[in-house]
Symmetry: C2
Subunit: 410 residues, 2 copies
């Protein structure tokens, strides 16, 4: 059961002018569930994305990167997503299938193939069932509509227990602007550049270089700050469309309204990323790890991820057991050079747990116990050696994680 | 239940001339179990060790390193080990307690404090119960004897389900030589330099510089090649004594008998290290990961550990599910630069699973299924980009691991 994650309310998922979505049940892996999503963007949209750094990156990721780099005449105008098969570890045949997929959708929508981005998620090392995928794309195209964001969020789910979608509508610089996004992912989550499928659209007009910088910044503060099991997927993709159908126009960081827009945009991305952790496989607790006063942001992230990836720390959270020495051990092996452990302070929510290389004098087991029983816990680590900080979001490690991943393909 | 790990047969644990062992039940954490070990070495012994690289290294580890560096007159002559409390994350008070411990044992055995090495294992962030530990040491000293290796192996167990001890007696260069060792550790196992408590003694005479090189080489091929959960302990220690009470004398790598001795010695260390994995928390399978034709040994280890630490790979082994794309994903995110995935071959035992960036043409799911059901599995990865190799030993991730670590302190 997800940790404090509400089901999206369709009435609060604002359509984005210039974006139409359609879904289908193609039976890619299992029947009776939506598993194909087509997104069509109006002329004039700008698109930018960041993708997995995994060397075994999937065929569709390779095609996405090539099409974005090609800057096709008329721009990127459509995305197609399938679940059930990742089309990763599939060699030449995988690339051929991904190309056939975009050619098929391009023909349906009267576009050039390079104007289409393909995405896949699911089991690795298996080929796409083209005989079922292509008819599914055809069905999805017949149902394209602006109001289908919730259906889209459902269509990209794999082991997710609920759809993830967030939306905001605000007046910025006198113009109404809408930002709506969806995400999926519940295991194999340790994004490196981006996450396993996040899509955000806005009706603001944003020039491509600025949009690309925004995607990178937003990824760093959202999808690139979460981890469930430390496994970086072969298919991570985070893609953004700015349709320009609304009145807000942004060309540079100096433009009026930029900072409000940036904040609203990153807010939606962060909610989508945290939703992935809240719905993490087997998660019973949502853990925020804040590392402060580090010598660099990279070192803060290194400490944060060492704690977030420790199976011992994660099982202690699952057990609500304040076995906090495991956090010290993780900090100690994080690999930060010349770490003076006598300067480090560790807090559990507001409780000072450790300092001077040992247990804090005022700390009591019952204080720790009280915090550990909550479903939202913040671990703060003060390294006392600089002025940088970073946050990492993760969940606990439960029996359910093992069950889900021992059974995933069956 | 440990994976293919027999109980040590006391008749096959050869005493090492010059080494006496004594144990006690001091009730450090729980009553009714042996939790203190004293090892006394005869005059003329040489001792060398390697220790955890964790920045939060325990107080006893700091004392060990200081005493070994001090090269005390008469050499190191005794060790004391307690379980139940790691004396890590204990600040100044922890160092004071470790010093009091060695002073007490030194007085009992009529030695200088610097001739004694202290070791602790158990819960982090708690102080040693000196009022119970010191009387326990006294009891252990009264029972010192050469035949107590099995009792010693029992006395250092924590979440281990069975004692770990191996021994060999051979004729090398015309001299009978004995090598006997014990180890413990079942969780928080990803040694970096050494493991959570391994002790090996031999009656060969080995000069200190040679012994130190041997310890390092042996650690690299045994304790430094295992992982259970990727958590590097605060207390890892691997210590070796060469008493010189036997006839074999070794001064340099050129001496007659050195290579046979080295091989026999590393064989005992490897058996002790692998026993830790076989008895890994919740382990149901023993997995060997061989990475070959790497550009460097470091890169081979990096790929091996990425696979060995992936919770998704480990749960697939637990489920006997040949979901082998998870192995490709782990190779892909291992961080090896410029990895050409089309050159990589992956084998499951003798079965070629993947090549040319995808599933091997002849591979069938039933072949994979057959291997995955075995209790000993070898994953071989051929990177095809160099001449270095490394092996990593690990186990699967089961429900039992979560249960053990969610309950550890209760």
């Amino acid at each position: 059961m997800p940790v404090n994650l509400s089901l999206p309310d369709p009435a609060e998922l604002h359509p984005v002018a210039g974006v139409r979505l359609g879904v289908a049940s193609a039976g890619i892996r299992k029947g009776g569930r939506r598993d194909v999503l087509v997104v069509a963007l109006d002329r004039g949209s700008e698109v930018a994305g960041v993708f997995t750094q995994n060397a075994f990156c999937a065929a569709p990721v390779q095609i996405c990167q090539a099409h974005l780099a090609a800057k096709p005449e008329g721009g990127i105008r459509a995305w197609v997503v399938n679940t059930g098969c990742a089309n990763a570890g599939t060699g030449e045949q995988g690339l051929t299938n991904a190309r056939k997929t975009v050619e098929f959708l391009a023909a349906e929508l009267n576009l050039q193939p390079t104007q289409v981005l393909p995405f896949s998620t699911g089991v690795i090392l298996e080929h796409l069932p083209m005989d079922r995928l292509l008819p599914g794309i055809q069905v999805a195209c017949t149902g394209l509509g602006q109001a289908n964001w919730l259906e889209a969020a459902q269509a990209i789910m794999t082991t997710d227990t609920q759809p993830k979608a967030f939306s905001t509508r605000q007046i910025i610089n006198g113009q109404q602007v809408t930002i709506t996004g969806i995400s999926k992912g519940a295991g194999m989550i340790r994004p490196n550049m981006a996450t396993m499928l996040g899509y955000v659209a806005t009706d603001a007009a944003i020039e491509r270089p600025l949009l690309q910088r925004l995607v990178q910044q937003a990824a760093d503060e959202s999808f690139n700050a979460i981890t469930i099991d430390g496994d970086t997927s072969t298919n991570d993709s985070f893609v953004v469309a700015a349709t320009g159908a609304g009145g807000l126009r942004l060309r540079s960081e100096q433009d009026a309204g930029w900072s409000e827009f940036r904040q609203a945009f990153i807010g939606v991305c962060r909610a989508l990323a945290q939703a992935i952790v809240r719905d993490g496989e087997g998660a019973t607790k949502f853990i925020t790890i804040q590392v402060r006063q580090a010598a660099s942001r990279e070192e803060a992230r290194q400490v944060g991820y060492a704690i977030a990836h420790s199976p011992l720390v994660k099982t202690a959270f699952f057990a609500s057991d304040p076995n906090l020495g495991r956090i010290l051990a993780a900090i100690g092996y994080s690999g930060v050079p010349q770490l003076d452990v006598t300067r480090i302070q560790v807090f559990l929510n507001e409780i000072l747990v450790a300092e001077h290389g040992g247990r804090a004098a005022a700390y009591t087991e019952s204080d720790g116990q009280r915090v550990m029983q909550q479903s939202e816990i913040t671990v703060s680590v003060n390294l006392n050696r600089g002025h940088h900080e970073a946050s990492v979001y993760t969940c606990d490690l439960s029996h359910e994680y093992v069950s889900i991943n021992a059974d995933y393909r069956s």
